[in-house]
Amino acid sequence: MTSSTDTAPSSGPKYPGGSGGQRPPAVRRAPRGEPLRRRSFVARNPSILWFLLALSLFTLGVTVLAEATGTGLLSTSFIKTLGKTLCLCLVAVAMDVVWGYCGILSLGHMAFFGLGGYAIGQWLMYARTEQIVMGNLDGQPIPATPQEISDAIGTQIFGVVGASELPAIWAFAHSLPLQLAMVVLVPGLLALIFGWLAFRSRVTGVYLSILTQAMTLALSLYLFQNDSGLRGNNGLSGLQNIPGYENTPQATLSISFFWASAAALAIGYVALAWAVSGKMGSVIRGIRDNEARVRFLGYHVESYKLFVFTLSAIVAAIAGALYYPQAGIINPAEIAPIASIYLAVWVAIGGRGRLYGAVIGAAFVSLLSSWFTGGGAPDIELGFYTVQWTDWWLVLLGLSFVAVTLFAPKGIGGLFDLINHRVMPDREGDYGPDTGSWRTEEGTEEEPPR
């Protein structure tokens, strides 16, 4: 075995579609006879520690500056924005697992996010309305029957769409535990069924992306109808009022939700990082890079995809369930296809295939977006024209997105590689489940035999 050293033949194999015949630079080599000792999960993934450290510091800083718990330097609405951003980071992490690791570009993940929001919104709205209704009925000479209470709640909630009865999908809305279960079950089941159908028929690549987009479009169109039972285009509102905490100031609620979001992000991050590490991660990335090969190794690829898809849908739903009480309102526009595309944009800008990249992308782009569209950015005088960022932000975002795709496919996360002088050994300027990751079709002969 003499040929197996670090000198590679200069006429190495061409990696199709990617960076030509370039060979990845050599990396630190494990010494011969590397000990068999298995390192712990965190030790093998040091970025998790760094991430948790950064998140804790951030949370601590915000807590100190918040109104309810500290100096009050940050306004309540800004705390809410930060809390929402953390939820967006969580859904971006889920998206990264599906796309960056498993190679499924889902253009429908915000549907799960929105469904989570709807599920928790149902309880928030029901419980809140119930309190109002009970307050009204207390003044009556005769105590109300359960039917009357339910009718009154129905009228209160659905008066806006000209209905008064609680639809069947509100059957569990009275119970927080049941509705919390719905947060997980409804999106999880949708992902399971949709994924099963899609993966079973081996729909892959852009076809799958278009199909997921169709899914979210269908869902949002459905919810736009008044007879969907979720108040049509009015959506669910007043979600910022938490039943049972009427007297708690929004400042306190906002920091509590911020903490909850931070905790959810931390837990979700670690859990997903664990799920995509080790052999599981190996198989998932294998599916991304060469699905057929994984299949011939005896893995039932569809189950894995379904597992990852459903898992990330559930995480997305949980993120949504935390997001919408902070946003206060949810309507079908929130799950329009465009939202999911933005999610993909965040992950791409942050850097695919690394969970912290997704977090950075989501936080960076969404905060920047609210700065620009919120009028925070100063206008630019060009003499003949004034660039108002509320009008031009999307143009900038669109073009910078093109630029990132073209010139920095690793996204912002790629900067960490430069800082670390660490070259990602697995990638050379190319990402994703496409030919870019050196996927080659095997078992086909190049030309039909004659």
Binding site: G17, G18, L105, Q140, P141, I142, P143, T145, P146, Q147, E148, F194, L197, A198, S201, R202, V203, G205, V206, Y207, S209, I210, L211, Q213, A214, M215, L217, A218, L221, F224, Q225, P337, I338, I341, V345, D391, W392, W393, L394, V395, L397, G398, L399, S400, F401, V402, T405, L406, P409, D430, Y431, G432, P433, D434, T435, G436, E441, T444, E445, P448
Partner: protein, 644 residues
Amino acid sequence: MRLLTFLVVCLWLPVVAAAQDLQSILQTHAEEAASPSRRTVGTMLDDLAASGLPGVATFLERYQDRDVVQRAGDGLFFYATKSGDTYTLSDISTGEEVGTAPSSEITEIRPNGGVRREIAGTLVAFQLSDPDIERRQTAVEAIARSPSADQLAPLRTSIETETDPALLARKRQLAGILAASFADSTADRVAAIESLSGEVSVEVRAALNQILSSSTGVATALPDGNIARTFTPGSDLTEAEAYDQLVEEGLALPAPTRADIRNALAANIDGGRVGGVPVARLDNDETRDQAYGALAADGIVPPRIGAAEQSAALSAHVFYEIYDEDDPAITDAARTALSEVETRVGMGQMVDLSLDGLSLASIYFLAAIGLAITFGVMGVINMAHGEFIMLGAYTGYVVQLFVPNYTLSLFIALPLAFAVAFGAGVAMERLVIRWLYHRPLETLLATFGISIALQQLAKNIFGTQARPLTSPGWLDGAWVVNDVIQISYIRIAIFVLALIFLALILFILKRTRLGLEVRAVTQNPGMAASMGINPDRINMLTFGLGSGIAGIAGVAIGLYAQVTSEMGSAYIVQSFMTVVVGGVGNVWGTLAGASLIGGLQKGIEWFNPSNTLAAQTYMILFIILFIQFRPKGIVALKGRAAGD
């Protein structure tokens, strides 16, 4: 209304005096004219009609309207308008004012209802046989608007003399409709009704429905008459509805509602108790009924009518629907005829729906064919395709700003939109897509970035409100086959445009050097390059072609929908569906996909016309399921060439 129309028409015509003038005819029948009776007026009317004088119609109109007076002194007849105590008189032949007269000298002629019907009959006959075809048409349409029994005979008479074939057909049709309702004998009516069953027009359906008009009722026993049907409470109508009907007819006492009971209880609280039940316990229907029962027993409130009493009341009555027409033979015939008509209408609607589906399919085809070329032939996903459609539509709008002639501007806009979108496509291919070949998901995202930038750019330039793209006058209106089937010219034009592009694309791909090179590069870029084909150039041209067609589609869509910055995104998902369902890499596949999606959307809308959102939802669900069974689309490449 009809008379007024006649009046206006008549007054506009010059009144020419003839040898035998109106006045003299009237003087011949002076007695009948002055105090007409239904039995005697006929001869005078016949004479008038036979005279053929131009003023007769006007006279009859005004006669009917009680505008004609007789001057006591000479017995002459005039038209008169009364102001205060004086009448202004006009000559009945010329309509010229001839002077005034005090009311004492004037006798107003007041034809009674019977006489006026006679007059109307003659009048209609007169109009229907008028030498001027326009007046005949006006008369016929007036009859069609408000049919009545007395028009039947004159209409039938006029048919014999009618010369214009189209009007003759119309008169026959109308006579049939009138006969169905107004013929004298049952046999005649049944025959007329049966002859109507071949029609689909709204008029025929209205006439048949009119014959079948009915009313519902409730009574203790089934009344005499032509009963259409009886209702069984619980199956044909709900028991609550049935009981409400009883209450409405005064046949039963209203049952207090839950709210009534609650209010009654609230009004009768006595020392924390109602009817002996503590108020605190009244939080369910059972105790409330109990308390209310106690109150009712004391006579304080009306009795609560329970379910048993209600159903007893229901079973003691019969609910029925009775025809206004008494003769069952006629209603039976009408029902049969109506069901036949409705079958025909249903078939007509199917045809109409197919035409609608076809036109929608043409739009989807136009929107998707460009995408099919870039996506199918080149394997490139262009999310900005919708924005190229928008670009084309705005090009059309801008052209119309400078060229006010809509026809001319349309013919300038079509090639210009192609050029603009072609340029944009080529620029995008060179600047972005070229660097991302073989990375389809990244292409998807990069072109999406371009899509949002272009969309926002359009919003910044043209504003958020919709801009009109006006079609030339010759595209207004619709091609009407009958009352059921019609299609607007603009949709026909789009269909034709789609056909032209189908032919053009097939021609380019199959018959030209460019098409050959495109297919070569698609199948094996390396081999094509080695044979002297420049793949970069081919890719650029193909992409430009696909984008240019999107621009043309934009003009077409803009003509019937509005031009907004978001119009592209409205079509992009459908376009992708079209390509995916049809099968990638095949023009025929796109055609099949567009037909399927267009037809399906119209079909679902037909089942649930009120809800286009639901139609789209179900269509997408269908497509998701469709992909299950044909993952490669309708026209799938098989075997190794599919490259899976």
